[in-house]
Symmetry: C2
Subunit: 330 residues, 2 copies
Protein backbone atom coordinates (compact mmCIF):
# COMPACT_ATOMS: atom_id res chain seq x y z
CA UNK A 1 0.00 0.00 0.00
CA UNK A 2 1.12 3.52 -0.75
CA UNK A 3 1.19 6.24 1.89
CA UNK A 4 -1.36 8.17 -0.18
CA UNK A 5 -3.87 5.32 0.21
CA UNK A 6 -4.01 5.74 4.01
CA UNK A 7 -7.08 7.36 5.47
CA UNK A 8 -6.09 10.21 7.75
CA UNK A 9 -5.31 10.97 10.51
CA UNK A 10 -2.95 7.98 10.65
CA UNK A 11 0.05 7.07 12.82
CA UNK A 12 3.11 6.47 10.67
CA UNK A 13 6.44 5.01 11.84
CA UNK A 14 9.60 5.08 9.76
CA UNK A 15 10.86 1.48 9.65
CA UNK A 16 14.53 2.37 9.24
CA UNK A 17 14.55 4.86 12.13
CA UNK A 18 12.72 2.42 14.42
CA UNK A 19 15.16 -0.38 13.57
CA UNK A 20 18.14 1.89 14.18
CA UNK A 21 16.75 2.97 17.57
CA UNK A 22 16.16 -0.64 18.64
CA UNK A 23 19.66 -1.66 17.50
CA UNK A 24 21.37 1.26 19.21
CA UNK A 25 19.69 0.48 22.51
CA UNK A 26 20.32 -3.28 22.27
CA UNK A 27 24.00 -2.54 21.71
CA UNK A 28 24.12 -0.25 24.75
CA UNK A 29 21.95 -2.37 27.07
CA UNK A 30 21.86 -5.91 25.72
CA UNK A 31 19.43 -8.62 26.79
CA UNK A 32 18.15 -8.36 30.34
CA UNK A 33 19.98 -5.06 30.96
CA UNK A 34 16.93 -3.48 29.28
CA UNK A 35 13.35 -4.14 30.31
CA UNK A 36 11.51 -2.19 27.57
CA UNK A 37 8.49 -0.24 28.77
CA UNK A 38 5.49 -1.04 26.58
CA UNK A 39 3.48 1.96 27.77
CA UNK A 40 5.44 4.02 25.22
CA UNK A 41 3.91 2.22 22.25
CA UNK A 42 1.11 -0.11 23.53
CA UNK A 43 1.75 -2.39 20.57
CA UNK A 44 2.65 -6.08 20.94
CA UNK A 45 4.01 -6.21 17.36
CA UNK A 46 6.58 -3.59 18.32
CA UNK A 47 7.31 -5.43 21.59
CA UNK A 48 8.04 -8.52 19.50
CA UNK A 49 10.69 -6.52 17.66
CA UNK A 50 12.19 -5.62 21.03
CA UNK A 51 12.12 -9.29 22.05
CA UNK A 52 13.82 -10.16 18.75
CA UNK A 53 16.50 -7.63 19.70
CA UNK A 54 17.21 -9.71 22.80
CA UNK A 55 15.01 -8.22 25.53
CA UNK A 56 12.68 -10.87 26.94
CA UNK A 57 11.42 -9.09 30.06
CA UNK A 58 9.06 -6.13 29.72
CA UNK A 59 7.74 -3.29 31.84
CA UNK A 60 4.01 -2.47 31.85
CA UNK A 61 2.01 0.39 33.35
CA UNK A 62 -1.51 -1.08 33.33
CA UNK A 63 -3.29 -4.38 33.89
CA UNK A 64 -4.42 -4.29 30.27
CA UNK A 65 -0.83 -4.05 29.07
CA UNK A 66 0.04 -7.13 31.17
CA UNK A 67 -2.94 -9.06 29.82
CA UNK A 68 -2.19 -8.16 26.23
CA UNK A 69 1.50 -8.98 26.45
CA UNK A 70 0.72 -12.37 27.98
CA UNK A 71 -1.90 -13.08 25.31
CA UNK A 72 0.65 -12.22 22.61
CA UNK A 73 3.09 -14.81 23.97
CA UNK A 74 5.37 -12.19 25.51
CA UNK A 75 4.67 -13.10 29.15
CA UNK A 76 8.03 -14.58 30.09
CA UNK A 77 8.76 -11.85 32.65
CA UNK A 78 6.33 -8.94 32.94
CA UNK A 79 6.90 -6.22 35.54
CA UNK A 80 3.84 -4.11 36.26
CA UNK A 81 5.71 -1.06 37.53
CA UNK A 82 2.67 0.46 39.16
CA UNK A 83 0.50 -0.04 42.21
CA UNK A 84 -2.76 -1.97 41.73
CA UNK A 85 -5.54 -2.43 44.26
CA UNK A 86 -7.87 -4.62 42.19
CA UNK A 87 -5.60 -7.56 41.27
CA UNK A 88 -8.25 -10.05 40.12
CA UNK A 89 -7.32 -9.84 36.45
CA UNK A 90 -3.59 -10.05 37.25
CA UNK A 91 -4.19 -13.24 39.21
CA UNK A 92 -5.91 -14.70 36.17
CA UNK A 93 -2.89 -13.86 34.00
CA UNK A 94 -0.59 -15.60 36.51
CA UNK A 95 -2.83 -18.67 36.54
CA UNK A 96 -2.66 -18.60 32.74
CA UNK A 97 1.06 -19.23 32.93
CA UNK A 98 2.66 -15.80 32.51
CA UNK A 99 5.20 -14.46 34.99
CA UNK A 100 3.89 -11.25 36.53
CA UNK A 101 5.74 -9.15 39.08
CA UNK A 102 3.85 -6.30 40.69
CA UNK A 103 5.10 -3.09 42.32
CA UNK A 104 4.02 -2.56 45.94
CA UNK A 105 4.63 0.44 48.18
CA UNK A 106 2.16 0.02 51.04
CA UNK A 107 0.60 -2.66 53.25
CA UNK A 108 -2.61 -2.25 51.23
CA UNK A 109 -0.91 -3.01 47.90
CA UNK A 110 0.91 -5.98 49.45
CA UNK A 111 -2.42 -7.30 50.70
CA UNK A 112 -4.00 -6.74 47.27
CA UNK A 113 -1.18 -8.63 45.53
CA UNK A 114 -1.36 -11.59 47.91
CA UNK A 115 -5.14 -11.87 47.94
CA UNK A 116 -5.50 -11.54 44.16
CA UNK A 117 -3.18 -14.37 43.21
CA UNK A 118 -0.06 -12.39 42.31
CA UNK A 119 2.99 -14.30 43.53
CA UNK A 120 5.93 -11.98 42.95
CA UNK A 121 6.51 -8.35 43.80
CA UNK A 122 9.15 -5.64 43.83
CA UNK A 123 9.17 -2.91 46.45
CA UNK A 124 8.62 0.42 44.72
CA UNK A 125 10.89 3.00 46.37
CA UNK A 126 10.52 6.76 46.17
CA UNK A 127 13.78 8.12 44.76
CA UNK A 128 12.76 11.75 44.45
CA UNK A 129 9.80 11.97 42.05
CA UNK A 130 6.68 13.02 43.97
CA UNK A 131 4.58 10.05 42.93
CA UNK A 132 4.44 6.42 44.05
CA UNK A 133 7.11 4.60 46.05
CA UNK A 134 7.76 3.98 49.73
CA UNK A 135 10.27 5.91 51.84
CA UNK A 136 13.58 4.06 51.36
CA UNK A 137 13.95 3.59 55.12
CA UNK A 138 10.66 1.65 55.25
CA UNK A 139 11.31 -0.61 52.26
CA UNK A 140 12.82 -3.50 54.21
CA UNK A 141 9.86 -3.70 56.55
CA UNK A 142 7.43 -3.80 53.62
CA UNK A 143 9.46 -6.61 52.02
CA UNK A 144 9.20 -8.57 55.28
CA UNK A 145 5.44 -8.03 55.30
CA UNK A 146 5.22 -9.25 51.70
CA UNK A 147 7.21 -12.37 52.47
CA UNK A 148 5.01 -13.02 55.48
CA UNK A 149 2.03 -13.06 53.10
CA UNK A 150 3.68 -15.70 50.94
CA UNK A 151 4.88 -13.34 48.22
CA UNK A 152 8.28 -13.68 46.62
CA UNK A 153 10.16 -10.35 46.71
CA UNK A 154 12.34 -10.01 43.63
CA UNK A 155 14.00 -6.75 44.63
CA UNK A 156 13.34 -3.03 44.29
CA UNK A 157 12.34 -0.51 41.68
CA UNK A 158 12.50 3.27 41.66
CA UNK A 159 11.84 5.74 38.89
CA UNK A 160 13.99 8.85 38.70
CA UNK A 161 11.40 10.47 36.43
CA UNK A 162 12.13 13.95 37.75
CA UNK A 163 15.61 13.72 36.18
CA UNK A 164 14.76 12.38 32.70
CA UNK A 165 14.70 15.74 30.97
CA UNK A 166 17.56 17.55 32.76
CA UNK A 167 19.45 19.08 29.87
CA UNK A 168 22.95 19.14 31.39
CA UNK A 169 24.30 15.57 31.06
CA UNK A 170 26.70 16.00 33.99
CA UNK A 171 23.91 17.18 36.28
CA UNK A 172 21.64 14.38 35.05
CA UNK A 173 24.33 11.83 35.91
CA UNK A 174 25.07 13.35 39.30
CA UNK A 175 21.44 13.55 40.36
CA UNK A 176 20.84 10.01 39.08
CA UNK A 177 23.66 8.82 41.34
CA UNK A 178 21.91 10.44 44.31
CA UNK A 179 18.58 8.83 43.42
CA UNK A 180 20.15 5.43 42.92
CA UNK A 181 21.99 5.70 46.26
CA UNK A 182 18.52 5.82 47.85
CA UNK A 183 17.41 2.81 45.82
CA UNK A 184 20.53 0.78 46.62
CA UNK A 185 20.16 1.52 50.33
CA UNK A 186 16.59 0.22 50.14
CA UNK A 187 17.82 -2.78 48.17
CA UNK A 188 20.21 -3.66 51.02
CA UNK A 189 17.20 -4.01 53.31
CA UNK A 190 14.85 -5.64 50.77
CA UNK A 191 17.12 -8.20 49.10
CA UNK A 192 16.36 -9.97 45.81
CA UNK A 193 18.07 -9.83 42.43
CA UNK A 194 16.31 -6.89 40.79
CA UNK A 195 17.22 -3.23 40.95
CA UNK A 196 14.89 -1.88 38.27
CA UNK A 197 14.99 1.82 37.38
CA UNK A 198 15.75 4.37 34.72
CA UNK A 199 14.31 5.48 31.46
CA UNK A 200 15.33 6.83 28.09
CA UNK A 201 16.76 10.01 29.61
CA UNK A 202 19.07 8.17 32.03
CA UNK A 203 19.71 4.89 30.21
CA UNK A 204 23.38 5.76 29.63
CA UNK A 205 24.18 7.22 33.04
CA UNK A 206 22.23 4.92 35.34
CA UNK A 207 24.91 2.27 35.93
CA UNK A 208 23.52 1.17 39.30
CA UNK A 209 20.26 -0.42 38.24
CA UNK A 210 20.47 -4.05 37.13
CA UNK A 211 17.90 -3.23 34.44
CA UNK A 212 16.63 -0.06 32.74
CA UNK A 213 12.89 0.50 32.09
CA UNK A 214 13.25 2.68 28.97
CA UNK A 215 10.37 2.87 26.52
CA UNK A 216 10.50 6.15 24.60
CA UNK A 217 13.81 5.30 22.89
CA UNK A 218 12.02 3.10 20.31
CA UNK A 219 9.95 5.88 18.69
CA UNK A 220 11.46 8.84 20.58
CA UNK A 221 9.78 11.99 21.67
CA UNK A 222 10.06 15.73 21.10
CA UNK A 223 11.31 16.51 24.62
CA UNK A 224 13.82 13.66 24.64
CA UNK A 225 15.01 14.69 21.17
CA UNK A 226 16.54 17.82 22.73
CA UNK A 227 18.87 15.82 24.99
CA UNK A 228 21.34 14.75 22.30
CA UNK A 229 20.56 11.04 22.73
CA UNK A 230 21.46 8.66 19.88
CA UNK A 231 17.80 7.91 19.05
CA UNK A 232 15.72 9.62 16.35
CA UNK A 233 12.07 10.58 16.17
CA UNK A 234 10.40 7.82 14.17
CA UNK A 235 6.69 8.61 14.56
CA UNK A 236 4.47 11.21 12.92
CA UNK A 237 0.74 11.64 12.45
CA UNK A 238 -0.10 11.77 8.76
CA UNK A 239 -2.81 14.28 7.88
CA UNK A 240 -4.58 15.74 4.88
CA UNK A 241 -5.10 19.42 4.16
CA UNK A 242 -8.89 19.71 4.09
CA UNK A 243 -9.25 23.49 3.78
CA UNK A 244 -7.01 26.32 2.60
CA UNK A 245 -7.33 30.09 2.69
CA UNK A 246 -4.91 32.94 2.00
CA UNK A 247 -3.68 33.16 5.60
CA UNK A 248 -3.93 29.64 6.98
CA UNK A 249 -4.64 26.05 6.07
CA UNK A 250 -6.36 23.29 8.04
CA UNK A 251 -5.37 19.62 8.35
CA UNK A 252 -7.48 16.78 9.77
CA UNK A 253 -5.13 16.08 12.70
CA UNK A 254 -6.90 17.52 15.71
CA UNK A 255 -6.36 17.30 19.43
CA UNK A 256 -8.25 13.98 19.53
CA UNK A 257 -5.42 12.52 17.43
CA UNK A 258 -2.61 14.05 19.52
CA UNK A 259 -1.28 13.86 23.07
CA UNK A 260 -1.67 17.50 24.10
CA UNK A 261 -0.17 17.53 27.62
CA UNK A 262 3.12 18.90 26.25
CA UNK A 263 1.35 21.48 24.10
CA UNK A 264 0.82 21.91 20.38
CA UNK A 265 2.39 19.62 17.79
CA UNK A 266 4.94 20.81 15.23
CA UNK A 267 5.01 20.71 11.43
CA UNK A 268 8.32 21.12 9.67
CA UNK A 269 8.31 24.31 7.61
CA UNK A 270 5.10 25.63 9.13
CA UNK A 271 3.79 27.70 12.02
CA UNK A 272 1.12 25.88 14.05
CA UNK A 273 -1.66 28.14 15.36
CA UNK A 274 -4.03 25.87 17.31
CA UNK A 275 -5.75 22.51 17.47
CA UNK A 276 -9.48 21.84 17.63
CA UNK A 277 -11.05 18.43 18.17
CA UNK A 278 -10.51 17.32 14.57
CA UNK A 279 -8.59 20.26 13.07
CA UNK A 280 -5.09 21.68 13.08
CA UNK A 281 -4.85 25.28 11.84
CA UNK A 282 -1.38 26.26 10.63
CA UNK A 283 0.47 28.48 8.16
CA UNK A 284 3.05 26.77 5.96
CA UNK A 285 6.09 28.61 4.59
CA UNK A 286 5.20 27.49 1.06
CA UNK A 287 1.57 27.48 -0.07
CA UNK A 288 -0.37 24.26 0.58
CA UNK A 289 -3.32 23.00 -1.40
CA UNK A 290 -6.42 21.09 -0.40
CA UNK A 291 -5.57 17.39 -0.61
CA UNK A 292 -1.88 17.80 0.24
CA UNK A 293 -0.49 15.44 2.86
CA UNK A 294 1.23 16.76 5.96
CA UNK A 295 3.36 15.10 8.64
CA UNK A 296 2.57 16.26 12.15
CA UNK A 297 5.09 15.74 14.94
CA UNK A 298 3.24 15.24 18.24
CA UNK A 299 4.55 17.04 21.32
CA UNK A 300 4.20 13.80 23.34
CA UNK A 301 4.30 10.40 21.67
CA UNK A 302 2.99 8.04 24.42
CA UNK A 303 -0.49 9.55 24.79
CA UNK A 304 -0.68 10.17 21.03
CA UNK A 305 -0.35 6.47 20.29
CA UNK A 306 -2.98 5.66 22.92
CA UNK A 307 -5.50 7.57 20.75
CA UNK A 308 -5.02 5.47 17.61
CA UNK A 309 -6.11 1.97 16.64
CA UNK A 310 -3.14 1.14 14.45
CA UNK A 311 0.39 2.09 13.49
CA UNK A 312 1.50 1.99 9.86
CA UNK A 313 5.16 1.14 9.34
CA UNK A 314 6.54 2.78 6.23
CA UNK A 315 9.62 2.44 4.09
CA UNK A 316 9.72 5.71 2.19
CA UNK A 317 6.23 6.04 0.67
CA UNK A 318 5.37 2.37 0.98
CA UNK A 319 3.37 0.96 3.88
CA UNK A 320 5.19 -2.28 4.71
CA UNK A 321 3.25 -3.32 7.82
CA UNK A 322 0.24 -2.26 9.86
CA UNK A 323 0.22 -3.05 13.57
CA UNK A 324 -2.79 -2.89 15.89
CA UNK A 325 -2.24 -0.70 18.95
CA UNK A 326 -3.60 -3.56 21.03
CA UNK A 327 -2.67 -2.57 24.60
CA UNK A 328 -4.90 0.53 24.88
CA UNK A 329 -7.34 1.07 27.73
CA UNK A 330 -7.16 -0.32 31.26
CA UNK B 1 -23.41 -3.08 40.05
CA UNK B 2 -22.02 -0.79 42.74
CA UNK B 3 -19.67 2.07 41.95
CA UNK B 4 -17.02 0.34 44.09
CA UNK B 5 -17.06 -2.67 41.75
CA UNK B 6 -15.85 -0.61 38.78
CA UNK B 7 -12.26 -1.04 37.71
CA UNK B 8 -10.54 2.32 37.49
CA UNK B 9 -9.99 4.64 35.76
CA UNK B 10 -13.62 4.70 34.63
CA UNK B 11 -15.89 7.30 33.04
CA UNK B 12 -18.93 7.94 35.18
CA UNK B 13 -21.99 9.96 34.20
CA UNK B 14 -24.66 11.05 36.66
CA UNK B 15 -27.97 9.89 35.21
CA UNK B 16 -30.08 12.63 36.79
CA UNK B 17 -27.80 15.46 35.68
CA UNK B 18 -27.63 14.08 32.13
CA UNK B 19 -31.41 13.77 31.96
CA UNK B 20 -31.87 17.30 33.26
CA UNK B 21 -29.42 18.68 30.68
CA UNK B 22 -31.19 16.87 27.83
CA UNK B 23 -34.59 18.07 29.04
CA UNK B 24 -33.48 21.66 29.49
CA UNK B 25 -32.09 21.81 25.96
CA UNK B 26 -35.09 20.05 24.40
CA UNK B 27 -37.33 22.64 26.05
CA UNK B 28 -35.22 25.51 24.72
CA UNK B 29 -34.60 24.09 21.23
CA UNK B 30 -37.21 21.42 20.54
CA UNK B 31 -37.04 18.88 17.73
CA UNK B 32 -35.19 19.98 14.62
CA UNK B 33 -34.16 23.30 16.19
CA UNK B 34 -31.30 21.28 17.72
CA UNK B 35 -28.97 19.04 15.72
CA UNK B 36 -26.96 17.48 18.58
CA UNK B 37 -23.24 17.13 17.91
CA UNK B 38 -22.13 13.57 18.66
CA UNK B 39 -18.43 14.45 18.77
CA UNK B 40 -19.00 15.58 22.35
CA UNK B 41 -19.79 12.06 23.57
CA UNK B 42 -19.06 9.59 20.71
CA UNK B 43 -21.70 7.27 22.15
CA UNK B 44 -24.71 6.07 20.17
CA UNK B 45 -26.55 5.09 23.37
CA UNK B 46 -26.42 8.72 24.47
CA UNK B 47 -27.44 9.86 20.97
CA UNK B 48 -30.49 7.61 21.31
CA UNK B 49 -31.44 9.54 24.44
CA UNK B 50 -31.17 12.73 22.43
CA UNK B 51 -33.35 11.22 19.69
CA UNK B 52 -35.86 10.20 22.38
CA UNK B 53 -35.86 13.85 23.47
CA UNK B 54 -37.08 14.76 19.97
CA UNK B 55 -33.92 15.52 17.98
CA UNK B 56 -33.75 13.25 14.93
CA UNK B 57 -30.96 14.94 12.98
CA UNK B 58 -27.38 14.80 14.27
CA UNK B 59 -24.07 16.53 13.64
CA UNK B 60 -20.88 14.49 13.22
CA UNK B 61 -17.21 15.45 12.99
CA UNK B 62 -15.69 12.29 11.49
CA UNK B 63 -16.52 9.61 8.94
CA UNK B 64 -16.45 7.05 11.74
CA UNK B 65 -19.11 8.97 13.65
CA UNK B 66 -21.34 8.96 10.54
CA UNK B 67 -20.81 5.23 10.00
CA UNK B 68 -21.52 4.40 13.64
CA UNK B 69 -24.64 6.53 13.84
CA UNK B 70 -26.02 4.96 10.66
CA UNK B 71 -25.21 1.47 11.95
CA UNK B 72 -27.05 2.27 15.19
CA UNK B 73 -30.21 3.19 13.30
CA UNK B 74 -29.73 6.91 13.84
CA UNK B 75 -29.05 7.79 10.22
CA UNK B 76 -32.23 9.71 9.43
CA UNK B 77 -30.36 12.98 8.83
CA UNK B 78 -26.62 13.10 9.55
CA UNK B 79 -24.63 16.26 8.88
CA UNK B 80 -20.88 15.74 8.69
CA UNK B 81 -19.89 19.28 9.62
CA UNK B 82 -16.36 18.89 8.35
CA UNK B 83 -14.48 18.73 5.06
CA UNK B 84 -13.57 15.26 3.76
CA UNK B 85 -11.34 14.43 0.79
CA UNK B 86 -11.62 10.63 0.89
CA UNK B 87 -15.38 10.10 0.65
CA UNK B 88 -15.44 6.39 -0.24
CA UNK B 89 -16.77 5.26 3.13
CA UNK B 90 -19.36 8.06 3.19
CA UNK B 91 -20.64 6.93 -0.19
CA UNK B 92 -21.08 3.44 1.22
CA UNK B 93 -23.13 4.81 4.12
CA UNK B 94 -25.38 6.69 1.66
CA UNK B 95 -25.85 3.55 -0.45
CA UNK B 96 -26.74 1.76 2.79
CA UNK B 97 -29.77 4.00 3.15
CA UNK B 98 -28.70 6.70 5.59
CA UNK B 99 -29.07 10.39 4.78
CA UNK B 100 -25.65 12.04 4.84
CA UNK B 101 -25.00 15.71 4.20
CA UNK B 102 -21.38 16.81 3.90
CA UNK B 103 -19.77 20.22 4.44
CA UNK B 104 -17.85 21.62 1.48
CA UNK B 105 -15.77 24.79 1.29
CA UNK B 106 -13.68 24.37 -1.89
CA UNK B 107 -13.88 23.00 -5.44
CA UNK B 108 -11.77 20.04 -4.25
CA UNK B 109 -14.21 19.07 -1.49
CA UNK B 110 -17.17 19.48 -3.88
CA UNK B 111 -15.41 17.17 -6.34
CA UNK B 112 -14.67 14.68 -3.55
CA UNK B 113 -18.31 14.66 -2.44
CA UNK B 114 -19.64 14.14 -5.96
CA UNK B 115 -17.15 11.47 -6.96
CA UNK B 116 -17.50 9.49 -3.74
CA UNK B 117 -21.24 9.01 -3.86
CA UNK B 118 -22.33 11.73 -1.43
CA UNK B 119 -25.52 13.34 -2.73
CA UNK B 120 -26.19 16.27 -0.42
CA UNK B 121 -23.95 19.07 0.85
CA UNK B 122 -24.01 22.30 2.78
CA UNK B 123 -21.63 25.13 1.99
CA UNK B 124 -19.38 25.71 5.01
CA UNK B 125 -18.92 29.46 5.46
CA UNK B 126 -16.18 31.13 7.47
CA UNK B 127 -17.90 33.33 10.05
CA UNK B 128 -14.78 34.45 11.93
CA UNK B 129 -13.07 31.37 13.38
CA UNK B 130 -9.72 30.82 11.63
CA UNK B 131 -10.46 27.28 10.50
CA UNK B 132 -12.55 25.80 7.69
CA UNK B 133 -15.23 27.61 5.70
CA UNK B 134 -15.28 29.60 2.47
CA UNK B 135 -15.31 33.39 2.26
CA UNK B 136 -19.02 34.37 2.46
CA UNK B 137 -18.75 36.27 -0.82
CA UNK B 138 -17.69 33.10 -2.67
CA UNK B 139 -20.33 30.77 -1.16
CA UNK B 140 -22.91 31.22 -3.94
CA UNK B 141 -20.42 30.33 -6.65
CA UNK B 142 -19.41 27.15 -4.79
CA UNK B 143 -23.08 26.18 -4.46
CA UNK B 144 -23.48 26.61 -8.22
CA UNK B 145 -20.46 24.38 -8.78
CA UNK B 146 -21.89 21.74 -6.45
CA UNK B 147 -25.25 21.78 -8.25
CA UNK B 148 -23.46 21.49 -11.59
CA UNK B 149 -21.89 18.26 -10.29
CA UNK B 150 -25.31 16.82 -9.47
CA UNK B 151 -25.16 17.54 -5.74
CA UNK B 152 -28.16 18.80 -3.83
CA UNK B 153 -27.26 21.89 -1.80
CA UNK B 154 -29.25 21.98 1.43
CA UNK B 155 -28.01 25.36 2.64
CA UNK B 156 -25.14 26.75 4.65
CA UNK B 157 -23.33 26.11 7.90
CA UNK B 158 -20.90 28.25 9.88
CA UNK B 159 -19.39 27.74 13.29
CA UNK B 160 -18.88 30.78 15.49
CA UNK B 161 -16.45 28.77 17.63
CA UNK B 162 -14.36 31.82 18.49
CA UNK B 163 -17.33 33.21 20.44
CA UNK B 164 -18.41 30.15 22.46
CA UNK B 165 -16.47 31.05 25.60
CA UNK B 166 -16.91 34.84 25.66
CA UNK B 167 -17.87 35.48 29.26
CA UNK B 168 -19.96 38.60 28.78
CA UNK B 169 -23.38 37.41 27.55
CA UNK B 170 -24.15 40.73 25.85
CA UNK B 171 -20.87 40.70 23.95
CA UNK B 172 -21.40 37.03 23.05
CA UNK B 173 -24.83 37.88 21.64
CA UNK B 174 -23.60 40.94 19.74
CA UNK B 175 -20.65 39.15 18.16
CA UNK B 176 -22.87 36.18 17.29
CA UNK B 177 -25.17 38.57 15.46
CA UNK B 178 -22.21 39.80 13.40
CA UNK B 179 -21.10 36.24 12.59
CA UNK B 180 -24.61 35.21 11.63
CA UNK B 181 -25.00 38.26 9.39
CA UNK B 182 -22.11 36.83 7.35
CA UNK B 183 -23.79 33.43 7.27
CA UNK B 184 -27.18 34.81 6.28
CA UNK B 185 -25.61 36.86 3.48
CA UNK B 186 -24.00 33.67 2.16
CA UNK B 187 -27.32 31.87 2.54
CA UNK B 188 -28.93 34.46 0.27
CA UNK B 189 -26.55 33.41 -2.48
CA UNK B 190 -26.54 29.68 -1.73
CA UNK B 191 -30.22 28.94 -1.13
CA UNK B 192 -31.59 25.81 0.54
CA UNK B 193 -33.45 25.28 3.80
CA UNK B 194 -30.61 24.86 6.28
CA UNK B 195 -28.77 27.53 8.20
CA UNK B 196 -26.79 25.35 10.61
CA UNK B 197 -24.57 26.97 13.24
CA UNK B 198 -23.96 27.50 16.91
CA UNK B 199 -22.94 25.46 19.89
CA UNK B 200 -23.53 25.17 23.60
CA UNK B 201 -22.06 28.63 24.26
CA UNK B 202 -24.40 30.41 21.83
CA UNK B 203 -27.46 28.13 21.83
CA UNK B 204 -29.60 30.76 23.56
CA UNK B 205 -28.45 33.83 21.63
CA UNK B 206 -28.11 32.44 18.11
CA UNK B 207 -31.63 33.09 16.89
CA UNK B 208 -30.65 33.30 13.21
CA UNK B 209 -29.63 29.70 12.56
CA UNK B 210 -32.45 27.31 11.67
CA UNK B 211 -30.68 24.68 13.77
CA UNK B 212 -28.02 24.68 16.50
CA UNK B 213 -25.15 22.15 16.51
CA UNK B 214 -24.62 21.99 20.28
CA UNK B 215 -22.98 18.91 21.78
CA UNK B 216 -21.30 19.79 25.08
CA UNK B 217 -24.59 20.67 26.79
CA UNK B 218 -25.36 16.99 27.43
CA UNK B 219 -22.41 16.29 29.74
CA UNK B 220 -21.09 19.85 30.00
CA UNK B 221 -17.52 20.97 30.33
CA UNK B 222 -15.35 22.89 32.77
CA UNK B 223 -14.93 25.93 30.52
CA UNK B 224 -18.63 26.11 29.60
CA UNK B 225 -19.52 25.70 33.28
CA UNK B 226 -18.19 29.19 33.91
CA UNK B 227 -20.69 30.81 31.54
CA UNK B 228 -23.74 30.50 33.76
CA UNK B 229 -25.59 28.23 31.35
CA UNK B 230 -28.46 26.08 32.70
CA UNK B 231 -26.54 22.81 32.21
CA UNK B 232 -24.51 20.97 34.86
CA UNK B 233 -21.31 18.95 34.68
CA UNK B 234 -22.42 15.32 34.59
CA UNK B 235 -19.18 13.47 33.84
CA UNK B 236 -16.24 12.57 36.04
CA UNK B 237 -13.41 10.05 35.83
CA UNK B 238 -13.53 7.69 38.77
CA UNK B 239 -10.13 6.77 40.17
CA UNK B 240 -8.57 4.85 43.02
CA UNK B 241 -5.90 6.15 45.40
CA UNK B 242 -3.02 3.73 44.76
CA UNK B 243 -0.31 5.38 46.87
CA UNK B 244 -0.26 7.82 49.77
CA UNK B 245 2.50 9.69 51.54
CA UNK B 246 2.53 12.50 54.10
CA UNK B 247 2.61 15.27 51.50
CA UNK B 248 0.73 13.90 48.50
CA UNK B 249 -1.37 11.01 47.27
CA UNK B 250 -1.55 9.37 43.85
CA UNK B 251 -4.63 8.20 41.94
CA UNK B 252 -4.73 5.97 38.86
CA UNK B 253 -6.20 8.65 36.58
CA UNK B 254 -3.32 9.77 34.41
CA UNK B 255 -3.02 11.92 31.33
CA UNK B 256 -3.88 8.92 29.13
CA UNK B 257 -7.33 8.95 30.77
CA UNK B 258 -7.84 12.71 30.43
CA UNK B 259 -8.11 15.28 27.67
CA UNK B 260 -5.17 17.53 28.59
CA UNK B 261 -5.43 20.34 26.02
CA UNK B 262 -7.17 22.59 28.57
CA UNK B 263 -4.64 21.69 31.29
CA UNK B 264 -4.82 19.69 34.47
CA UNK B 265 -8.04 18.19 35.80
CA UNK B 266 -9.61 19.23 39.11
CA UNK B 267 -10.58 17.32 42.23
CA UNK B 268 -13.05 18.85 44.63
CA UNK B 269 -11.35 19.54 47.97
CA UNK B 270 -7.85 18.87 46.68
CA UNK B 271 -4.90 20.57 45.03
CA UNK B 272 -3.78 18.83 41.83
CA UNK B 273 0.00 18.86 41.28
CA UNK B 274 0.59 17.04 37.98
CA UNK B 275 -0.42 14.15 35.76
CA UNK B 276 1.83 11.37 34.46
CA UNK B 277 0.77 8.75 31.91
CA UNK B 278 -1.15 6.67 34.47
CA UNK B 279 -0.89 8.80 37.64
CA UNK B 280 -2.42 11.90 39.12
CA UNK B 281 -0.45 13.39 42.03
CA UNK B 282 -2.51 15.63 44.31
CA UNK B 283 -2.89 16.80 47.90
CA UNK B 284 -6.35 16.49 49.44
CA UNK B 285 -7.59 18.82 52.17
CA UNK B 286 -8.49 15.84 54.34
CA UNK B 287 -6.18 12.81 54.48
CA UNK B 288 -6.80 10.11 51.88
CA UNK B 289 -5.99 6.44 52.23
CA UNK B 290 -4.86 3.84 49.74
CA UNK B 291 -7.97 2.30 48.22
CA UNK B 292 -10.13 5.42 48.52
CA UNK B 293 -12.12 6.40 45.45
CA UNK B 294 -11.76 9.85 43.95
CA UNK B 295 -13.80 11.76 41.34
CA UNK B 296 -11.67 13.63 38.83
CA UNK B 297 -13.18 16.46 36.80
CA UNK B 298 -11.47 16.61 33.39
CA UNK B 299 -10.51 20.03 32.05
CA UNK B 300 -11.99 19.07 28.65
CA UNK B 301 -14.71 16.45 28.31
CA UNK B 302 -14.75 15.69 24.53
CA UNK B 303 -11.17 14.38 24.23
CA UNK B 304 -11.46 12.67 27.63
CA UNK B 305 -14.34 10.52 26.43
CA UNK B 306 -12.43 9.64 23.25
CA UNK B 307 -9.85 7.88 25.46
CA UNK B 308 -12.31 5.50 27.11
CA UNK B 309 -14.09 2.37 25.89
CA UNK B 310 -17.22 2.80 27.94
CA UNK B 311 -19.31 5.18 30.01
CA UNK B 312 -20.95 4.02 33.23
CA UNK B 313 -24.24 5.74 34.03
CA UNK B 314 -24.81 5.99 37.76
CA UNK B 315 -27.71 6.76 40.04
CA UNK B 316 -26.00 7.61 43.31
CA UNK B 317 -23.63 4.70 43.97
CA UNK B 318 -25.43 2.31 41.66
CA UNK B 319 -24.30 1.68 38.08
CA UNK B 320 -27.58 1.57 36.15
CA UNK B 321 -26.22 1.28 32.60
CA UNK B 322 -22.90 0.88 30.78
CA UNK B 323 -22.59 2.33 27.29
CA UNK B 324 -19.84 1.58 24.78
CA UNK B 325 -18.10 4.70 23.48
CA UNK B 326 -18.57 3.30 20.00
CA UNK B 327 -17.80 6.27 17.75
CA UNK B 328 -14.07 6.60 18.56
CA UNK B 329 -11.36 6.70 15.93
CA UNK B 330 -11.65 7.86 12.33
Amino acid sequence: MHLLDLQTPALVVDAALLDANLRTMADALPGARLRPHVKAHKTTALAKRQADAGHRGFTCATVREVEGMAAAGLGEDLLLANEVLDTRRLGAVVRGGARVTLAVDSPETVEAAASGGVREVVVDVNVGLPRCGIDPAAAGELADLARSKGLSVRGVMGYEGHLMLRKDPAERAERTAESMALLLAAHEDVGGDLVSAGGTGTYAVNTWATEIQAGSYALMDTAYAELGLPFRQALTVLGTVISASAKWVVADVGLKALGMDHGNPAISGAHVHFCSDEHLTFTPETPARVGDRVRVLPAHVDPTIALHERIHVVDGDEVVETWPVDLRGW
